[in-house]
Amino acid sequence: MSAVTATSEGSAERHEVVALAGELGRRELAPHALELDECRADALPSAWARVAEVGFDRALLAVDDGGVGLDASSLLLCLEEIATGDAGVALLVLLSNAALAALPPERAAAIPETERWALVPAPPELLATTARIAASGDGAPVLTGALSPALGALGADGIVVVLGDPKPGVHALAAGTTGLEIDACNPLLGLRSAAPARISLSAATAEAASPATEAHAAVDASLALLRAGSAAIARGIARRAREMALEYAESRFQGGVPIIEHDAVREMVAAMKVREAATPAPLGAEIDGTAALAARVAATDAALATATDAVQVFGGTGYIHETGIEKLMRDAKSLQLWLEPPWIAHDMIAEALVD
């Protein structure tokens, strides 16, 4: 598999990069999706090595900074493709790119290629239960508090914590920083390869990744990227679920005919395609706060509906782990709850509209 090359919107290179991501998803990740879901010891290192080999883990960094200079829209299209193989790995790719993009270029460039970093969002609009970090100190920021669950943080070589009001900021902490502990926490339903962690900070001195005057913009940009990225990953889950459901429906017989001949199944499969069309990937200028948030809600809701129906098309077989379809349902539900569940997102969107 060749390495990623820089692209621009609408370019032929973008098609090639997206095709490369599709190949990674279908050929390299999908065959190992169950092993990743079961958190088998060698599954993630092996998958991540393939991601890093192609350069998707630092795709947004400029070529001069050790990245591949991909634009955000292209990255989103790639995430969708990678998510058709494993949504958890796609989320790790998103978190890695978001973390490096939030750092000053020279700092990001200094991170060895062998390391995996993850962005840890902790804005105040998340349920109070997940955000307990407060920055203090006039010089280097000193962080104290706890946050759980932080997806993708377990096993990361460093984290970039995104804090919202009242003291917004983007702060980098390498694993091993005094006062920083990253431990395993209760697993989620899905996205198992992006294992969640409990982050404990006890007067941990961080690096300020963004100047105080640009803190708000940096936080907003990071969160928007995560939201747009999760919409893209949701699309990947939904597409995989639809493809698997259709393939099964054409091969499974009931009442003497393939079940795709039954209206109930046809309608479910058609509805999957309709949802897909109704939740296009947020690209270009749409990757801003409210639009990305709305796209995320729509796409994750759609992915959950599609994956749930896909299990239904499979019937009892779909309820069995080895089939791989129930994993997509669990991945979709976890993605829907990540960052902010839909009802909180609705509240945020309404507030933005009123403002």
Partner: protein, 491 residues
């Protein structure tokens, strides 16, 4: 799972307001139901709730893990014999009792509850066969009461035929690969059954197979199989998404001999009997789903009231509206399963349970039913023909079809409610790191099965259409008079 100290479990009269009116006419009946509800709630709180997550975790890594100690405790508390006829020492309960009990057990742990539900499903076909298998039912009741439970299971689904085997029309064209071949003195069963709840742990199984695989619908027949019979084996236990505490097994029948007196009803009566069994079993599935939804709702409420992390959420109108929606859905699902259960017990069974003949048979000591000569008479073709006639006098195809319609409605609605309520509960709780998340995640996984087993919701809704909208009459009752042996039934 930890017991909620913020208690919200409703009383029987809160659950079913109509009972307040009914008890003005029959106080004893309401008290009888209340006794079952409270016994189940006590058992669930003492034995199921606190181990639910741990058993789920263990069965995730080892699908063959099975908690026999819990089953023994359930047997001692009456959870294994409430459906068995009082004539054999059981509780004499019917669909209503079964549904009320299962809602309680499922609010604590649907997976563990399914062990008791699947046991009931294994018993149900025998209840339709009069006293013919009272000897086995007596053994099952005694075993449960002395703490050495004999579980039962019903084996219907095949690797290539799931929903097909639950509908007569689909069954006729289904890819059935099992076969009950006529041999001297009985039948030889061969084939594979899949997704059989309790299949790998049951001592007795009611198994449905065709005597002529080319005509499955016409020759579909129920057999009572002793799991100790040569040729029977458990191929594997499935690794399920949820309801894991109750194993779903793949069963292999390799020339398993079943004597003539262990044929349930008559050869070829199986397709109709399946409809009756489904009319009886789907309201309890609606109750299982209602219990799952209730379990999620109660745990969420407990978290909202007690956890400081959830402080302020209850004041949010968005949360209040969602809680109201959950309460509304649970209430409607509960009324639907109760309507369906009453319809089956009263209208579909008709006068069968009150017949002087049935009551008279109850006067015969149970040990008599185990005598070879009595069994020979009981299982003779003439007795079976007489029983078919008796059922035709006691009830009708119209009554059973309507019952099936309401049962299918309750099952489909319940399954959707369980999925919807657990989805909403998780949305409100978000990714909180509090223990409630693990409990809600488990119930969400458990809920999905309710939309699939006992026929997918899609098939159930087709049956609602046929029974309640198109007002078809389905051929559920065995034909009156002597049934001609189907091809293949004769040696």
């Amino acid at each position: 799972m930890g017991a909620a100290t913020w208690s919200t479990a409703p009383s029987l009269r809160e659950s079913f307001p109509r009972l307040r009116q009914l008890e003005q006419y029959d106080r004893g009946y309401v008290q009888h139901l209340e006794k079952h509800q409270l016994a189940a709630r006590r058992f669930a709180d003492l034995h199921l709730r606190n181990v639910a997550l741990e058993v789920d975790r263990r069965t995730d890594t080892d699908p063959s893990y099975f908690d026999w100690e819990l089953v023994r405790a359930g047997g001692r508390e009456g959870m294994l014999d409430f459906l068995l006829p009082s004539q054999v020492g059981g509780g004499g309960g019917l669909t209503v009792e079964c549904a009320v009990i299962l809602e309680e057990l499922c609010a604590a742990c649907p997976g563990l509850a399914l062990i008791f539900g699947a046991h009931g499903l294994g018993i149900t076909p025998l209840l339709l066969d009069g006293p013919i298998h009272w000897d086995v039912m007596g053994e099952v009741a005694e075993a449960a009461q002395r703490g050495e439970p004999m579980l039962m299971a019903c084996a219907l689904t095949e690797p290539d035929a799931g929903t097909d085997v639950e509908d007569v029309d689909l069954l006729a064209r289904a890819r059935i690969t099992s076969h009950a071949r006529r041999v001297p003195g009985g039948y030889s069963l061969s084939g594979t059954k899949r997704f059989i709840s309790n299949g790998g742990v049951a001592r007795w199984l009611t198994v449905l197979m065709p005597v002529d695989p080319r005509r499955p619908a016409e020759t579909w027949t129920c057999f009572l199989v002793d799991a100790k019979t040569k040729g029977f084996s458990v191929a594997c236990n499935e690794h399920k998404m949820g309801q894991r505490a109750c194993p779903a097994s793949e069963l292999v029948f390799d020339e398993v001999f079943v004597p003539d007196d262990r044929v349930v009803a008559r050869v070829g009566d199986g397709a109709g009997a399946t409809l009756v069994v489904l009319a009886a079993s789907r309201p309890p599935v609606g109750a299982i789903a209602t219990g799952i939804a209730r379990g999620a709702y109660e745990r969420l409420l407990g978290w909202l009231h007690e956890d400081t992390d959830a402080q302020g959420l209850l004041e949010r109108q968005s949360v209040q509206l969602r809680l109201a929606g959950m309460a509304e859905q649970i209430h409607l699902a509960r009324q639907a399963y109760m309507d369906a259960a009453v319809e089956f017990d009263v209208a579909a069974l008709g006068s069968a349970t009150k017949s002087p003949l049935v009551r008279g048979l109850g006067l015969v000591p149970n040990r008599m039913h185990r005598r070879r000569r009595v069994r020979r008479v009981m299982s003779a073709p003439a007795t079976r023909d007489a029983l078919a006639g008796f059922l035709n006098r006691a009830t009708s195809n119209e009554a059973i079809t309507r019952s099936l319609g309401l049962s299918s409605l309750a099952k489909a609605r319940g399954g959707d409610v369980a999925m919807g309520v657990t989805n909403t509960a998780l949305e409100i709780a978000g990714l909180t790191d509090a223990p409630v998340r693990a409990e809600l995640q488990k119930l969400w996984r458990d809920a999905k099965l309710c939309q699939i087993y006992e026929g997918t919701n899609q098939l159930n809704r087709i049956e609602v259409y046929r029974a309640l909208v198109a007002r078809e009459t389905m051929p559920a009752l065995p034909p009156r008079g002597r049934r001609a042996a189907p091809a293949g039934a004769a040696i």
